[in-house]
């Protein structure tokens, strides 16, 4: 085991979007029992340090791979895509109008205009619907990649992920039930 291995290697999982949560958890528990610093308390300084490095990588790996969105972003990065912040900050062009209206309504609400509430709620519902459409698309695109790994599919997944992040951040600003 090497702490600088990629997260898939570290946890012994196939490099793909879809993973069995049960297998992932079982691997994580098994490796934790082996590598947790508690198991090395009586060893030499060097052994303790390497157990610390390894178990922190293991925890970081599990945290990333058990979350479908973080896992997808991670896989894209491994495949050479730049997943910087910028991609999710630019407004997707097809959403320009809706985003503008939402921001107006938010502004009105902040300045005390309660009538904007209904409008906001509607906009919010719209975006939440969009999110579930994106999630469905992400699901089918990732399944397609797992079956037949080609770069084009990854490019589409990257656009979907950026859009998802953008809308997610947007919806979080609007009062309402929190997103999962």
């Amino acid at each position: 085991m090497n702490p600088s291995s990629d997260y898939y290697e570290l946890l012994g999982m196939p490099r793909q979007f879809s993973l069995s949560q049960d297998v992932l958890q079982a691997r994580f528990y098994e490796l934790s029992r082996q590598w947790h610093p508690d198991k090395f308390a009586r060893r030499s300084e060097a052994e303790r340090q390497s157990a610390l490095d390894l178990s922190s990588s293991l925890n970081d790996a599990y945290r990333t791979l058990r979350d479908p969105v973080k896992r997808a972003e991670y896989l894209l990065r491994l495949e050479g895509f730049d997943m910087g912040e910028q991609g999710s900050k630019d407004v997707p062009p097809e959403l320009l109008e809706e985003v503008f209206e939402l921001n107006m309504a938010l502004e009105e609400l902040r300045s005390g205009d309660e009538s904007a509430k209904a409008q906001l709620e509607q906009a919010r519902n719209n975006f939440v619907k969009m999110l579930s459409k994106i999630d469905a698309d992400l699901g089918s695109e990732s399944a397609q990649y797992d079956a037949n790994p080609v770069k084009d599919t990854l490019s589409r997944i990257r656009i979907l992920l950026n859009r998802r992040k953008y809308i997610h951040n947007l919806v979080e600003q609007v009062p309402g039930p929190s997103l999962s």
């Binding site: 610093p37 508690d38 009586r42 922190s56 925890n59 970081d60 945290r63």
Partner: protein, 615 residues
């Protein structure tokens, strides 16, 4: 080590310590499980009270608690509330606690106790030394390694301060373990193979809530939340305020500036509070300077008073359930920890929230120390089937442009956890890069807790933006941040200069350790002699019993003669003030009794070896 003791890793002895706001305890693991070690006064709780005498010596525990009343200006309690905090943080406490504080200290609080000025870690070190001593006397051997518990919601500075206290007390702190997690270990909840449990821990000064998942002996913390400034002390202060007002109007005198009066009244209030967990009404009684104050207080009134405090615990509970990603219905069991959970109203509030009857079988004052001993057993390798996976309670981030915090490690991440970040220079020839690290959930620097400033020094002068320094932030299994930096151009480790925002620097702690060594030199010698005698007592006692064992009569005449001679030699040096001589004779006796011990082990006594010593 005496051969009559079964070697339960004595050279590797690790004790578990609960360093509490009100009381502290020490426990160890024997063959039957975790055990609390009582002090010389047979009390299992050591009040976390320290009094510095005129000759500079410290009195700790029950004896110091008595001095709170008569020598309040040199006696301190609840110092845990000050650990890892700055002067500005504790202004409210200082109004009610009679601590005299050196106003010149911003990042570390300095308490004036008589002629001495001490930081909170130094005060805590006195409590730890007492516990270490109790353990050494009880176990008859030196104790140098410990696991110490901290509130799960303690931040980096508070954890570091606790670790510093251990170092100053001469303890190698192998692990800081979170109190609610320790409690779950003590409860042996892993008997239930899988499930989700919540631990509600309301102590003297801190509140924690943790939610854990159990998986065949593995305890995975899913989320934790809390308030490091909420506990039984707050209840005392509410009652104290009422009593002070009463007295003001009845006696026409304000007692709040009267240190002795306030301590006596505080004690009366605590007594009434404790009574109300068992009876429907009681009274606060004070006799002071020939005057008498009595006020009847019913449980109804008490509960009205306590309601806001209990309510303050419920918000963190709800947040914790949400962060853990579970529903209330999925939580199988709830465990109660901390003295304040004896209050019936606290129990019923928890029962209502979690819709489960909370566990209260173990003494809520002892359960954390027992768990610390189990964790000590895990670290020393004697407990193999259990493992804790804990989390960091607060997000860690660095300051970026415009006073905004960029989060690197999110709260509730399993620890150890790490993040790497690349840094470069902004202007040509820049030699230093300063990194400001913060803890907290808010967006802006001013709303988070400053943790430390790390200075990447001696960068080779080069045009702006060319330097590449990779910085690794690692939160270890104690929840404490470690920072390392590597120059990516040279591949070499880059030096990092740490300036903690709150707390002591490494040099300051080293200084305190040295100071305590200087003063403790004489103490130390006396103690070594005392310890050697304890060890001698142990082996002589065991031998006494062994002489009645069948195995003794199986020895040859010669062997028995050698044992008698070695015994006499030990008895001869027993009262000499030379520990090495005593240890030497013990060793000699050990050698000649080797085959006796072996015979005893080989005969049927094995079954009777329940404890660590042959009975």
């Amino acid at each position: 080590m005496s051969t009559f003791q079964i070697d339960f890793g004595a050279e590797d002895r690790v004790v578990g310590i609960d360093l509490g706001t009100t009381n502290s305890l020490v426990a160890f693991m024997d063959l039957t499980g975790p055990k609390i070690i009582p002090g010389a006064d047979e009390d299992r709780l050591v009040p976390s009270v320290v009094s510095i005498q005129e000759n500079g010596e410290a009195v700790v525990g029950n004896a110091a608690r008595e001095l709170l009343i008569t020598e309040s200006e040199r006696t301190v309690y609840s110092v845990k509330r000050l650990m890892g905090r700055g002067l500005a943080d504790v202004q409210d406490e200082l109004k009610l606690f009679p601590f005299k504080v050196d106003q010149g200290s911003d990042s570390v609080i300095r308490l004036k106790l008589g002629d001495k000025t001490l930081t909170p870690p130094e005060v805590s070190a006195y409590v730890l030394r007492q516990l270490k001593h109790n353990a050494e006397v009880y176990l008859g051997e030196a104790v140098n390694k410990a696991v110490i518990t901290v509130p799960a919601y303690f931040n980096d500075a508070q954890r570091q301060a606790t670790k510093d206290a251990g170092r100053i007390a001469g303890l190698d702190v192998l692990r800081l373990v979170n109190e609610p997690t320790a409690a779950s270990l003590a409860y042996g909840l892993d008997k239930r193979k899988n499930g989700v449990i919540a631990v509600y821990d309301l102590g003297g000064g801190t509140f924690d809530i943790s939610i854990l998942k159990l998986h065949d002996g593995l305890f995975e913390v899913l989320a934790t939340n809390g308030d490091t400034h909420l506990g039984g002390d707050d209840i005392d202060n509410l009652m104290l305020r009422i009593a002070l007002e009463d007295i003001h109007s009845e006696w026409g005198e304000d007692l709040s500036g009267d240190k002795e009066g306030i301590q006596r009244l505080r004690r009366a209030v605590i007594h009434a509070k404790e009574q109300l967990s068992f009876v429907p009404f009681t009274s606060i009684d004070l006799e002071y300077r020939g005057r008498r104050y009595t006020r009847e207080i019913t449980r109804d009134l008490f509960e009205k008073l306590v309601t806001p405090i209990v309510d303050r615990t419920l918000g963190p509970c709800r947040d914790c359930i949400k962060d853990a990603g579970v529903s209330v219905a999925q939580i199988d069991e709830v465990v109660m920890v901390g003295g304040s959970t004896r209050i019936p109203m606290v129990r019923s509030a928890v029962e209502t929230l979690f819709r489960a009857k909370p566990h209260t079988e173990l003494n809520p004052d002892e359960v954390v120390a027992l768990g610390a001993a189990v964790q000590a057993g895990i670290l020393s390798g004697h407990v193999e089937d259990k493992l804790l996976l804990d989390v960091t309670p607060l997000s860690l981030g660095i300051e970026t442009m415009g006073g905004v915090v960029s989060k690197l490690i999110h709260r509730n991440s399993t620890i150890p956890a790490s993040a790497t970040e690349n840094f470069t220079t902004a202007v040509d020839g820049q030699r230093n890069v300063l990194i400001h690290v913060l803890q907290g959930e808010r967006e802006l620097v001013k709303d988070c807790r400053s943790l430390a400033r790390f200075d990447l020094k001696d960068i080779n002068p080069m045009p702006a933006g060319l330097a590449r320094i990779e910085v690794r932030f690692l939160i270890d299994a104690n929840g404490i941040l470690n920072v390392t930096a590597r120059d990516q151009r040279t591949g070499k480790e880059h030096s990092v200069d740490v300036k903690p925002s709150y707390g002591l620097t490494d040099e300051q702690v080293e200084g305190m350790i040295l100071e305590s060594f200087d003063k403790a030199e004489e103490d130390f010698q006396a103690r070594q002699v005392r310890e050697a005698r304890v060890e001698a007592d142990t082996i002589l006692g065991a031998l006494d019993k062994a002489r009645r064992n069948d195995a003794y009569f199986e020895l040859s005449e010669e062997e028995r003669g050698a044992i008698d001679r070695a015994t006499n030699e030990l008895l001869l040096v027993y009262h000499a003030d030379d520990h090495e001589l005593i240890l030497n004779k013990i060793e000699q006796l050990n050698e000649v009794t080797m085959s006796l011990a072996e015979n005893m082990m080989n005969t049927a006594v094995r079954g009777a070896l329940k404890g660590t010593k042959i009975e």
